[in-house]
Symmetry: C2
Subunit: 261 residues, 2 copies
């Protein structure tokens, strides 16, 4: 079985059965993978409004009906309570559990959100011959909390988080051109160059993920990061919040090409 | 005083004072005008979700905080209770009043939505030398209810409404190319050609607005229409809903160029 070429529904079934347990990077090539945020309905309106107001960091792909385990567009036959390989459960902002399904937690009052992930545009950058250093170095992308405030919505507020990929300035311009067409997965960079301009003091010490090599002729290129909605939601300390575990994304039924415009 | 070149804030002040009472077509050239929907907060989440799910007919520009009379981005110093020249007030889906302000109705529980309007892309079409027949014939654009269902959200559901502009097929292709860049104001056409394919039986009898001349070498070109969210919201029969009166739009502080991408 080649996990790269399997259909999303097959992979989600294997995940649901516990046969597939690792991260989903590189799986179901050509299909959109998404960040997951699940909240009690009392938070749904403000969180939806937060996504609308912060499209570069929180590009909303889909939202479930209250209590529904599937999605209108991105996973009609999916079950969000079991088809993510690993979940994180937070109560009042504290991680309390990392289960392989959330059937014991899910109830009729919960709303699930799918948020775009940079996996989608990384394919397009690689195909254009641009370097993705963290893939070359085989580890997670470096992520940094900036001093740029997100547009607040109700109890959701905080600074945005960015991911970073080093490139030459020529490559950064090409990458900006390409990501213009991926508005639903973070779009163009938030910043190019001097990290201190966006409040990053030490580029060698990311807040999440792992550092990457920045070559002498390269500049850091920063994109909005899907960690932002999670971190902002956690700051609001909801009584219950469920997310995917990092790298263990929800594999949707929708091809990457649908997100390019 | 030239209403075409006045700043939006000046015009809104004149509207608020009752000095300016007519429709706003052609005013504050170069600034975005918007459809207005105001609802009790109990409906806000489902309506926001409806806009997210129907971007071509309900392109959401901004949403107020609950009880706030201004908008975070499109009218920071505006007052939505008095700066629209004429309002429509509906109770349980019935028109009950067409006041010049809504100060007597507005309360801390209401949420205001601004939705993109085709005035914005019409400027761009005209500048490209494309015909806008209803402007040539100096009346309102013809609008039709289709048989295409909107993606439902909670109690909001129904078929989408389209506006129609006749053009040659060559012009229709050019118009599609141009409106690709106006995703926040309806974007590309919903349909080009045979009206019966989208459930329109008689093109000479629009459901709203007035009919226009279609020349022999022309095809009708249909765009998603901002009447859709109003009609869908009315079908849901909320106890209270306020909108702008047709043509009496909310003039925002944001230039048209911000909506092109």
């Amino acid at each position: 079985m080649n996990l790269q070429t399997e259909h999303p529904s097959t992979l989600r079934k294997l995940i649901s059965e516990g046969t597939l347990t690792g991260h989903t990077s590189g799986m179901a090539k050509g299909y959109i993978q998404a960040n997951v945020v699940i909240l009690p309905s009392a938070y749904a309106y403000d969180f939806l409004k937060f996504c609308f107001r912060n499209p570069k960091t929180c590009p909303l792909l889909d939202v479930s009906e209250k209590g529904s385990t599937h999605f209108p567009f991105y996973g009609k036959n999916a079950n969000i309570t079991s088809e993510v390989a690993q979940y994180r459960v937070y109560r009042y902002g504290e991680l309390v559990e990392s289960p392989v399904n959330i059937k014991h937690l899910f109830n009729d009052d919960m709303v699930s959100f799918l948020i775009g992930c940079s996996f989608t545009f990384e394919h397009a950058l690689l195909e254009a011959g641009l370097p993705i250093r963290h893939i070359e170095e085989e580890h997670n992308v470096p992520m940094y909390v900036t001093n740029i405030p997100a547009a607040p919505s109700g109890q959701f507020s905080g600074n945005i988080t960015v991911s970073m990929r080093p490139m030459t300035m020529q490559q950064a311009i090409k990458a900006t051109e390409i990501t213009t067409h991926f508005k639903n997965v973070h779009g163009t960079p938030i910043h190019i160059g001097d990290p201190s301009e966006i409040g990053i003091e030490n580029i060698t010490q990311p807040d999440f993920g792992e550092p990457v090599t920045i070559k002498e002729n390269e500049v850091p290129v920063f994109w909005g990061c899907g960690v932002t909605p999670q971190s902002v939601a956690l700051d609001a300390k909801p009584e219950l919040m469920v997310t995917h575990a990092p790298g263990h994304m929800f594999i949707t039924d929708v091809p990457d090409s649908q997100l390019s415009d």
